[in-house]
């Protein structure tokens, strides 16, 4: 177990890194289960992009924290209550519509974070954001194209896509909580609304929003994910291959 020393910057970097790693892990869960081979690779590619982003952000967090922690320490040696990711990313992968809808909602918000981070005086963050912005742009386009086809597809795909949006919506509030970089919700809505309309889906109504992920109050799902992700590293401390 490690104890992190979290300045506002460290906490921000860990939060974004945790978002990327947990969502990347969720995408990796499609390996062997995707509807077609092409989409399996697409999902794995996106997952690897996110895990790569997480690694860079953990390095930046380690530098800012200056406690000698490594990427692996952050990933494998923290318990649930020390994870700073939003609840949105830890929800189980669900069906294909749920995965694509989540990716779409997340990527649309990340677009703003990456744009702002590229202007950051924190040089490592700006460099990471420049790379991540290109990866994220593809995630956004790919998930948007799928959402349109699922929504405007068969009755079943439409219903699944709408159900996914409705279930995810209460988890989108956390993406816009005040932080070192805070995306603008109105701008996000303006970005996603036309896609949701083209998909013949209904934009969910704002209601009560979930919160707590950034403070370490997580759903029961994160514990199960961490158990799977961390158990090898904890069973064999310091193991390499």
């Amino acid at each position: 177990m490690i104890t992190t020393r979290e300045s506002p910057l460290v906490r921000f970097l860990l939060g974004r890194a945790d978002d990327a790693l947990i969502l990347g892990h969720r995408l990796s869960e499609w390996t062997g289960h995707a509807p077609i081979l092409e989409e399996e690779l697409a999902l794995a590619n996106m997952g690897l992009d996110l895990i790569g982003q997480a690694r860079g952000l953990y390095d930046a967090a380690a530098d800012a924290e200056a406690c000698g922690h490594t990427q692996d320490d952050f990933a494998y040696l923290r318990d649930v209550q020390h994870w700073r990711n939003v609840l949105l990313v830890e929800l189980p992968r669900g069906d294909f519509a749920f995965t694509m809808a989540r990716q779409f909602l997340y990527a649309a918000a990340q677009e703003q974070v990456h744009a702002a981070a590229q202007q950051s005086p924190h040089a490592p963050l700006a460099a990471l954001a420049a790379k991540a912005a290109k990866e994220n742009a593809y995630h956004l386009r790919h998930s948007a194209e799928w959402l349109i086809r699922l929504g405007d597809g068969t009755d079943e795909s439409h219903n699944r896509a709408q159900t996914a949006l409705d279930r995810l919506w209460p988890y989108t509030g956390e993406l816009f909580e005040a932080d070192q970089i805070t995306p603008d919700r109105a701008q996000w809505l303006a970005e996603i609304a036309p896609v949701i309309a083209r998909a013949t889906l209904t934009l969910p109504k704002d209601g009560w929003m979930q919160t707590g992920g950034r403070a370490g109050r997580h759903s029961e799902h994160l514990g199960h994910l961490l158990a799977e992700m961390q158990h090898i590293a904890r069973s064999h401390p310091g193991a390499t291959w």
Partner: protein
């Protein structure tokens, strides 16, 4: 798992150093946009390409393998069609 509505697309990629698109394989996709995405995700993961074409496999008319002898063997004996068949006089220099 059945994928009833996915059609097959042939993928052509132009590499960094390549002048023309080369056939690299095929993907399943429900339309041309997602076929491009699939081609990107399947065939350019290691920096292979700078440009992608996708073509519905059904749009390609192929020669019949049974016609191989008729179509291609007659050319084998026409060695005079290769430029190396001809002696070029030294006076001509580099052509």
């Amino acid at each position: 798992m059945t994928t009833p509505d996915t059609q097959l697309w042939e993928v052509f990629i132009r590499s960094r150093s390549g002048l023309s698109h080369r056939h690299v394989g095929s993907v399943h996709a429900i339309d041309s946009t997602l076929a491009l995405h699939a081609a990107r995700d399947v065939y350019t993961r290691r920096g292979e390409g700078l440009s992608i074409w996708v073509v519905p496999s059904a749009a390609i008319t192929a020669s019949d393998p049974a016609d191989k002898a008729m179509l291609f063997e007659p050319a084998e004996s026409k060695i005079y069609r290769h430029p190396t068949f001809y002696d070029v006089p030294d006076e001509v220099g580099h052509m």
